[in-house]
Every structure is written in structure tokens, then in C-alpha cells.
């Protein structure tokens, strides 16, 4: 019997027939108004983490609006999905119990016009001031199409940042357009002298409406949207999306395709984390140390191109497997290259760690406390650098990871130096995983014929930044709702905590040590 069902039965005191398993990934529990509050507080007591929360409209005949709360419990393979139908356009807020809910509730309020009672923060999230107040694009009654932005914004509709008043406190507004070649976001610092007293991050400048665009498309067409969620998470998100559709269809993809997927996803992890690791020395004015890492990254990007035809693995995944096979000779060559990569990377990292001027800036800068990790659902290298061994590949194995089990290390410091070291370790380990997948590469074709079925499905993967959640609902062969939540969405608040009491010039370094995706957050 499913371990999560047994556990939930015990802690929630509910009969087994209330729980339904779905696609071997989630356990669904439908809850009603009377038990809502009690179940939420029992889950909190049992240390469940809120991994995602979203709304759907007309998911079945019986419901108008439905809220889904996806929970993760450590050491349980399945996720728990609470399904809560609401009759009016309102629901109780759970943000006081699960703090990450605050962002989701604001997101749902924008998208669907659902009000959350007793919510502390009712500011708009992805719809900035240029959108009219009563505009809710994810409602089925809104037909997607180009819109005209408001030119002027009434003063009472302007975004209200948290204000900190005291003698000597001043504000520094930064962005959305920054000085470097980076994505847009707004950072509002409240500073005393040089020390940061408070940072508030405002995102969603890049909101492109990916979730709404997917609706009404057939699953094959929508893959291009999954690829565009975040450029440097293309492989991770295409994998998650394809896997969702495949699970729904009961489709088993050929073993060779599983191996290639792992190789591409790990290559992506390597080049993405190399970018973070090169950026960190740049931000402490030590570009000499960054150059070898930049060179290695360019080599990996060129390898991506050789393996798939795209430096970012665009257009290489497909529902049922992979678009193209990779020749055995090329894989053999890659395996040899990774040996030299590994030793040159080791040298580059050792060189950087031997520079007192680098260490002095990395340690103990930008600390993320361990206590924050679970309540804020912080995942990936940031969690590992703060002593929490979370990794979807291990906690909820998918694809080949059930067989090639990654090893992850943790460090306790939670500072920039720890994140640097954790990322270095992940890169080295990814090279081993790739080599192992190449050694065990089976023959055969790389794509199975997809047969599409209707239903809802959850799919979770480990991207270079942590846990990415995809949830797809298909009806009559078309996408009814597509919900995506990348690791960055939950990890951004970690920066707000990490910069407290640090000096302003350390902000770029702390930011780079996490290197979160703006596009992946804004969708």
C-alpha cells in the first residue's frame, strides 16, 4: 500500500477510500469547507511542505473553481494533492500557516479573481499596474488575445512597497533595467549607511502569459512553450512536460531515450551552474579566476550543439522520447572529453578557493538559515548549501534516476562560499552521471509513438535551480490548464533574507550565488 496514504490516514484520521492515487506521482484528497482548516493545521504539525498551489476552472462537471494544494513530505515518494472546490470566488488564506502560500494566493487572485480571506498581502503579483483591476486572464470567460495597456495609473493603484521609516534609513530603487546583461526585476533596498535593513524584490516584468497560451493547444504544440519557460532550464522543463503527457498516456519511452534525456539534463545542469560559478568571481572583481570557467562553459555549450543541434537543447525533446538519436561515437567522444573537463574544472575551482581575496568576500556572506528552507520551500543548491539534502532526483526519482542514483552533499554554512562549493560538487557529480549513462547506453530507437489520453497529471523534476513543478490537465485531447512553478519562484525570497545586514556591494554577489531565473518565475 502507498506509504503516503498510510501516513495521511494516520495523521488526518481519514479512511483509505478518501485517497486516490494518480499516475504514481500524487495522492489526491478531496476536502470540503468543514475540514479545510483542521487538515491544514494537521499537515503543518506533521511538517508537510507546501510545494505548489494553483487554481483551475471547470476541472469537472461538479465544480466551478477548484484550488489545488500540492504538499511534499520528506521520505515519501508521492506528493499529496488537496483538491478543494470553492462555491463563491473566495477561500480562506493559509499564508499564516504556510508562508509560501502568500505568493501563490496573490498569483491566483490575479489570474482568477479569487479573494483570500484574512490574507495579509493582497497586492497584485504578475499583473502590474498597466492591467485593469478587474482583469483576470486565467478565467475561461477571458479569450486570449492582444490587449492594450493602461497608459496612466491612478495613484491609489500604484504598487506599494514595504516602507521602513526611521532616522537615517534611505531607499535605493534598482531596476527593472539593470546595468549588466541580465533579466529585468526591481529591487527596493532600505539601507542604513551601507547595511541593508530590508530588501523587497518585485518580479513579473517578463510575464508572457505562458499558462494561458497553452490552453486550447494540443500537447505537441505546447511543448514549445515549456521550452521557453526559462532558456537555461530548457531540458529540465521539456523533460517535465513530456513526462507529464507520457504518464497521462501510460506511455513508456524507449530506454535509449531515457539515457539521452539524463545526459542532456545533466549537461544543462553543468553549463548553467558553470555560469553561476563564473559570475561569482566576476562580482568580487576577480575575472582571472572566472575565465577558465567561462571557457569550460563555452565548450559545454558547443557540445550541446553537437549532441542536439541546439546549444540550449531547444527542439530536442518530444512526447514519447527524443527527436533525434545521438551516435555512439559522439557519446564516446563526450565521455573522453568529460575526463579532461573534470580535471581542468577541478584546477579552476582550486585556484579560486586558494585566493584570500575571493574567500574574504564569499565567506560568510549572504547566509540563508536552515530554518527557512522547509517553510519557504527553498530547493536545489541553495537548500543543500544550508544543510538540507533536498533533490527531486533522489526524493521522487524519475526517468533513469531510479537506477542511476545521484549523490548529493550538503554544507551547513548557507553562505556564498557554501553555494560555490555545492555547485562545484554538483557539476563534478553530473559528469559522473553522464559517463555512467553513456557506459550503460542501450541500443534501439529513441521515440515511442505517442497515444494521448485525457486527465490530470503532476510531474516534478530537478532543474539546475531546484524543484520544478508541472501540472497538466487535458480534455478532448487539448490542454485545459497548464500550471508551472519553477524553483526560482520559491527561491527568490531566500535572497531577501540572505542580504539582511549585508552591505549593498555584496548584493550582486549574493544574487549571483543563487542566480535565479526571472523568466522562469514570471512565466
Amino acid at each position: 500500500m502507498n506509504e503516503l496514504i498510510l501516513l495521511c490516514q494516520k495523521i488526518l484520521n481519514l479512511p483509505a477510500e478518501r485517497f486516490a492515487e494518480n499516475q504514481d506521482e500524487e495522492v489526491i484528497l478531496q476536502i470540503d469547507d468543514n475540514e479545510f482548516e483542521k487538515i491544514m493545521s494537521l499537515l503543518y504539525d506533521a511538517e508537510f511542505t507546501l510545494a505548489c498551489m494553483f487554481a483551475t476552472e471547470n476541472i469537472d462537471e461538479k465544480s466551478n473553481l477548484t484550488l489545488f494544494y500540492i504538499f511534499e513530505k520528506s521520505r515519501c515518494h508521492n506528493f499529496l494533492a488537496l483538491k478543494y472546490n470553492i462555491s463563491a470566488d473566495k477561500a480562506p488564506s493559509v499564508a499564516m500557516t504556510f508562508p509560501t502560500a502568500s505568493l501563490y494566493e496573490r498569483e491566483i487572485r490575479d489570474g482568477f479573481g479569487i479573494e483570500f480571506e484574512y490574507s495579509k498581502d493582497t497586492r497584485r503579483l504578475f499583473l502590474h499596474e498597466n492591467y485593469p483591476v478587474q482583469f483576470h486572464p486565467l478565467r475561461k470567460s477571458f479569450r486570449n488575445g492582444q490587449t492594450v495597456p493602461n497608459v496612466t495609473v491612478p495613484p491609489d493603484e500604484e504598487y506599494k512597497f514595504r516602507e521602513v521609516h526611521s532616522e537615517g534609513i534611505y531607499q535605493i530603487p534598482v531596476g527593472p533595467v539593470h546595468a549588466g546583461i541580465i533579466e529585468p526585476g526591481h529591487f527596493r533596498f532600505s539601507v542604513i549607511g551601507e547595511a541593508i535593513y530590508n530588501l523587497e524584490i518585485r518580479m513579473f516584468w517578463k510575464h508572457r502569459g505562458i499558462e494561458k497560451l497553452a490552453e486550447g493547444k494540443n500537447p505537441t504544440q505546447a511543448l514549445a512553450l515549456a521550452e521557453a519557460i526559462s532558456g537555461d532550464e530548457t531540458a529540465a522543463n521539456s523533460w517535465a512536460y513530456c513526462m507529464a503527457i507520457e504518464r497521462l498516456s501510460g506511455l513508456k519511452i524507449p530506454p535509449r531515450a531515457e539515457h539521452i534525456r539524463l545526459i542532456f539534463a545533466e549537461m544543462e545542469r553543468i553549463y548553467a551552474l558553470l555560469g553561476d560559478m563564473a559570475g561569482m568571481p566576476i562580482d568580487v572583481a576577480y575575472p582571472v579566476g572566472a575565465s577558465p570557467i567561462f571557457n569550460l562553459r563555452e565548450e559545454i555549450l558547443r557540445w550541446n550543439g553537437k549532441l542536439s543541434g541546439s546549444r540550449f537543447y531547444k527542439g530536442s525533446f518530444t512526447i514519447g522520447g527524443m527527436k533525434n538519436d545521438v551516435s555512439t561515437e559522439l557519446l564516446h567522444e563526450l565521455s573522453q572529453y568529460l575526463v579532461s573537463f573534470s580535471s581542468r574544472f577541478h584546477d579552476a575551482v582550486q585556484h579560486l578557493l586558494a585566493q584570500p581575496s575571493v574567500i574574504d568576500r564569499f565567506e560568510p556572506t549572504g547566509r540563508v538559515k536552515k530554518e527557512l528552507i522547509a517553510p519557504m520551500n527553498i530547493t536545489g543548491p541553495i537548500a543543500q548549501a544550508s544543510g538540507v539534502p533536498r533533490d527531486v532526483r533522489i526524493d521522487h526519482p524519475y526517468g533513469l534516476y531510479a537506477k542511476l542514483i545521484p549523490e548529493i552533499k550538503t554544507l551547513d554554512g548557507g553562505d556564498v562560499l557554501c553555494r560555490f562549493k555545492i555547485k562545484a560538487g554538483i557539476i563534478q557529480h553530473s559528469t559522473h552521471l553522464i559517463s555512467q549513462a553513456i557506459r550503460e547506453m542501450p541500443g534501439g530507437n529513441v521515440c515511442a509513438e505517442p497515444k494521448l489520453r485525457d486527465g490530470t497529471v503532476l510531474s516534478v523534476v530537478e532543474s539546475c535551480r531546484g524543484q520544478n513543478v508541472h501540472w497538466v490537465s487535458i480534455r478532448h485531447g487539448l490542454i485545459e490548464r497548464y500550471k508551472v512553478r519553477t524553483a526560482s519562484f520559491c527561491n527568490w525570497p531566500a535572497i531577501e533574507f540572505a542580504v539582511q545586514d549585508e552591505i549593498v556591494p555584496d548584493f550582486p554577489l549574493i544574487n549571483k550565488s543563487m542566480n535565479l531565473s526571472y523568466a522562469g518565475t514570471d512565466l
Binding site: 492582444q146 508572457r208 523568466a519
Partner: protein, 173 residues
Amino acid sequence: MGGMFNNIVKPKITENFSFLDSELEQEGFAIREKIDKIFGGSLAIREVDAGSDNSPEIELVNLTTPYYDIERFGISFVASPRHADVLIVTGPVTRNMALALKKTYDATPEPKWVIALGDDACDGGIFKDSYAVLGGVDKIIPVDMKIRGNPPSPREILKGLFTFINQIEKQRS
């Protein structure tokens, strides 16, 4: 102690690069000649991301890394639109970024040029029917040149810049 002493007195050596891309250099130095002539030695580019998926930014940053090192060809990325000759804009322009893009354009001194980079920036790409997107960059500000690709590779960007500079040269003569 010995380590620190050696660190101070020994001659400094950077990594010896084993790559030489002569085709890239040829193109690069041809661009440099024209930049010398038209822009008085340096072409200053300000990059604005108006809604891309971040892959064009990765490739633009790559142009400044040792493999490409485009500063040697007289091209540099600057921190402010006030210092820029050219704006490179990526992404379909989102509603939330439209005003910031317009302000950045207005802050760039004349004469100025705009290059739309990436399929989304050229015409809105797969996002053009979204409520959240206004379309290609030319919906907001005048565009002088489009470099297509999802995303264009560093070499393709460099080729695009070369074409752009030739265009300017023709207009001047």
C-alpha cells in the same frame, strides 16, 4: 608564507588558451575597421531584456568571454543607455516591460539604432497572441535591424552586427 612571497614576486601568468578561431578573428577585425571609421573607435551597446526566456542574454554574455572577447573588435556592452550607440532588445515586449523599454530608448542619445535579437523580439514569436505581450520590439520603438534565432548563437550575433555596420556605412556614403 612562502606561497604569499612567491605570489608577490613571481611573474603573473594567465591561462594559455589553446583555441584560435581564425574565421571569427577575420570577421571581427573587419568589423573593427569599420567601427573605427564610423563610430570613432568603439561601438557601445546597451542590452535591454523586454521579456526573453534568458537564453539570448546568455549568448550575449558569452560574446564577452575569452572564446569571443568582442571588446577586441571595438564592441562593448555599457551599463547605461546614456552611453550607448545601439540598443539590443530581446524578448517579445511584455506589457509589464513596455514602459521601461520606451524610457530606456528615450534616454539613449541621438544618433541611436535599435537591434531586435531573437525570434520573439523580431515579431513576438510564439507569444504574439498572448494578452501579456505587445509583440515584436518594433511595436514599441523603431527597429533598424533584426537578428533571428532561438536564440542566435554568438557567431550569428556577430555576423548580424557586421551586417548592421555595413548598412550604416552604406547610409553614410
